[in-house]
Symmetry: C2
Subunit: 454 residues, 2 copies
């Protein structure tokens, strides 16, 4: 038999600890601030919102490794370790000397990498006696993952789903309901935050920022209930490092080390997950490796936003977070990569970007679907519109390697499949999709409203 | 770490040969007959329809093992070997002493086991210089698989998709189109067979039998074009034996041998694939193992049909096949398991059933969705409506084991996931699904029309 296509690990290779990159950062991320006092948040400030253990993980800047509980690893076994795959088909189609690898998180039964943190968050909530949880979901990947995790630990879950995705992706709603969750389109009339935006902008199609506001409001008003989030936060990035830790071992099996590691970028969960374990070698051993965030051109916080304290949500319920942001009330265009329609970047990623330890590129919608179609036809997997940003960035790098005649090793994260996103592919095939050009003035006006804390 | 959840093989363990059960059958299947002459078909009779190598495989009754070409094994590596999984979650929910294992074919990037034969068929067509292929698809699983395989080998593909699935499952149509195939809802006005049924029954929602007629007609009228089929035929069953051959090794890794092996049943492809390698030990070593086909109560050819020569398609274009059948113009109820809406069983399975070497059970639609929901909530995977028949049968056996206080080992094939079938789950959740009772008289009237050849 010829060349190895998939590099596989056994269940015993599921990491036993998550990697906390903050421990290795010279410049730590700035602290989140209490919006009223502007003082750094304490764990106590966070425990009304999150399970205590998750609040601790959120503010932990010293422990490099956090043990993964046995119960979490047991559920990881449902689909982990995921394969590392050599994209021979894509390489051949591009006629590139580059070696392209992807970590295939799309084999998760709920369709994306989100399960790695969903299982952990549901576990800690259950362990601390919490009975109800709330969350928001954009494209529905996080909501689907959390719905299964909540059911596995016997928690009641309410999901606010960004309205445009609720309508474009009804199947994800059904998936959540099949797992037993309640799903509410956001903005809704069930919260103050939802009512406010619906009266001010009656046709508003929703955004992650608004859905977060609603989920937080419901959690704060429900006894024995906590809020959970699928991206942006430090503890979410922490849980997702299982992706990169596995990939590290698998690249070793392949006998290569990546010149660059690429992840699509919404709030930062899959990007952090695939890159932080490689960044570790850059931070501690001076290893040369480029870490590239691929974000939508229509929601370009890392490439065109400002580094400033801002709210994590539309309504301003969250602490102030030091982030690259387009402003918390930025209304992103209705691109199909719903999971990337978020105004800001997590605080760790933002600090890393400020310190030039990571890079960012922006990708136009039509380029993502072109890349996605080529990937589907050559590798057999229809990628999520979100993940297609990483594919497009990887293809750009592979073509650059071809131009330069250099054999580069490229690793990207295939964060999810697009089987629930076929309506978007339909529109692409029909020629009905467009790019969205975001004028500089719109960004400038939006970030001008931010309080200058830094 | 505690118990092993998934039993994994490496790419080197992908079988090097398919298993041809006919070689080990004492009573060989009766030969297919030419409909005009009623004489046994020759390979020459078949080569106008199929690639020559596939025609040879179809009529081969002597070679026990057929070597899998290197190019086919290379593409199998995209997703094979698939995991064998211990369903601890389901066992716990049922509180059964039974050990339940499932072979997880749903990890195939196109969503089902169908790729095992699609890759092989596209390969042989390409090798023989064929440029265009046609096929039919019910739920769309076969069409999606063949679309990718055709693209991988550079073949043009036209797919006739059963109209009710075309409407209920638009995403599968989009998947096929994204891979580059042409998709036509069947019955269509593009063929004589389609025009005939549409003029006789203007609102006919289609069936596999009709779609097969249309795909055959198009293939026969197009230069350098052949027809391909995703189930029923001997060579399809042959290719699918990779499922059971892998499962055999994996059960050994688990240290158990199944008391019973269960597959859902439409035309027989996944059932044959998972069971024939185990049947081999029953035929050659007298091993005790039950092989159970789980078919829809609304399309019960094995449990309530007759054993007789019949056409494989609605219009009568195919050879006469010796099969358990409900009559080739049987119009099955519009259940959501579109892939099981076929009037007959493959000739090998039919002979095995006649000789009591396999069993069959019928499952009602509501029971399949109840089983599917329990499986989703306990194992995290939303199963295809087709596969849910096997799950329901496995649950019935696990509950019987519990009643009898016996530790049985149950293996079933999870032939595919249901992520494209969420509209059906929606209807189930809303209480809008029903069972379909099929009166004895309807079957009797339908099979009375068959010519009595046996």
């Amino acid at each position: 038999m010829s060349k190895t296509k998939k590099f596989l690990l056994s269940e015993n290779d599921i990491p036993t600890a998550w990697y906390n990159v903050v421990a290795d950062m010279k410049n730590k991320p700035l602290p989140p601030l209490h919006p009223a006092t502007k003082k750094p948040l304490t764990i106590d400030d966070l425990t009304s919102l999150f399970a205590t253990e998750l609040a601790k993980q959120e503010l932990n800047s010293t422990d490099r490794w956090i043990e993964i509980p046995e119960e979490v690893r047991d559920l990881y076994k449902n689909y982990r370790p995921t394969p590392l795959v050599r994209a021979y088909g894509l390489e051949k189609a591009l006629d590139t000397p580059a070696h392209i690898f992807f970590k295939n998180e799309s084999v998760s039964p709920v369709g994306s990498h989100k399960l790695s943190s969903a299982i952990a968050q549901a576990y800690y909530c259950k362990k601390e006696g919490i009975t109800n949880i709330t969350t928001e979901t954009g494209a529905g990947q996080w909501g689907a993952a959390l719905s299964y995790a909540a059911k596995a630990f016997g928690l009641e879950l309410a999901v606010y789903m960004v309205k445009i995705s609720y309508e474009q992706k009804p199947y994800r709603r059904s998936i959540m309901q099949t797992f037993g969750a309640q799903v509410i389109p956001s903005p809704s009339m069930s919260t103050k935050a939802g009512r406010k935006i619906l009266t001010e902008h009656p046709n508003y199609q929703g955004s992650l920022g608004t859905a977060i506001s609603e989920a937080i409001e419901l959690a704060l008003q429900t006894p024995n209930c906590r809020y959970t989030l699928g991206s942006v936060l430090n503890h979410v990035a922490l849980h997702q490092t299982v992706i990169g830790l596995e990939a590290e071992k698998q690249m070793e099996m392949a006998g290569e080390y990546p010149d660059m590691v690429i992840g699509c970028f919404g709030g930062g969960s899959n990007f952090s997950g695939i890159t932080f374990p490689f960044l570790r070698h850059k931070l501690t051993d001076g290893k040369e490796v480029r870490l590239i965030a691929a974000e939508p051109a229509s929601c370009p916080k890392l490439t065109r936003g400002v580094f400033q304290y801002d709210f994590g949500d539309e309504a301003g319920y969250t602490p102030l977070l030091p982030m690259f942001t387009l402003g918390h009330d930025f209304a992103p265009a209705h691109i199909h990569a719903g999971g990337l329609r978020y105004h800001g970047a997590g605080t760790i990623v933002s600090q890393l970007k400020k310190d030039n330890l990571i890079e960012a590129v922006d990708i136009k919608q039509l380029d993502t679907f072109k890349a996605a179609t080529l990937f589907a036809q050559t590798e057999g997997i229809i990628p999520a519109p979100e993940s297609s940003h990483a594919i497009a960035a990887a293809i750009n790098e592979a073509l650059k390697a071809k131009e330069e005649g250099k054999q580069k090793t490229i690793l990207f994260n295939l964060s999810g499949h697009g089987l629930i996103d076929m309506a978007a592919y339909d529109q692409y095939i029909a020629g009905d999709l467009t790019n969205y050009d975001l004028p500089d003035e719109e960004i400038a006006q939006n970030v001008a409203k931010l309080e200058k804390i830094i």
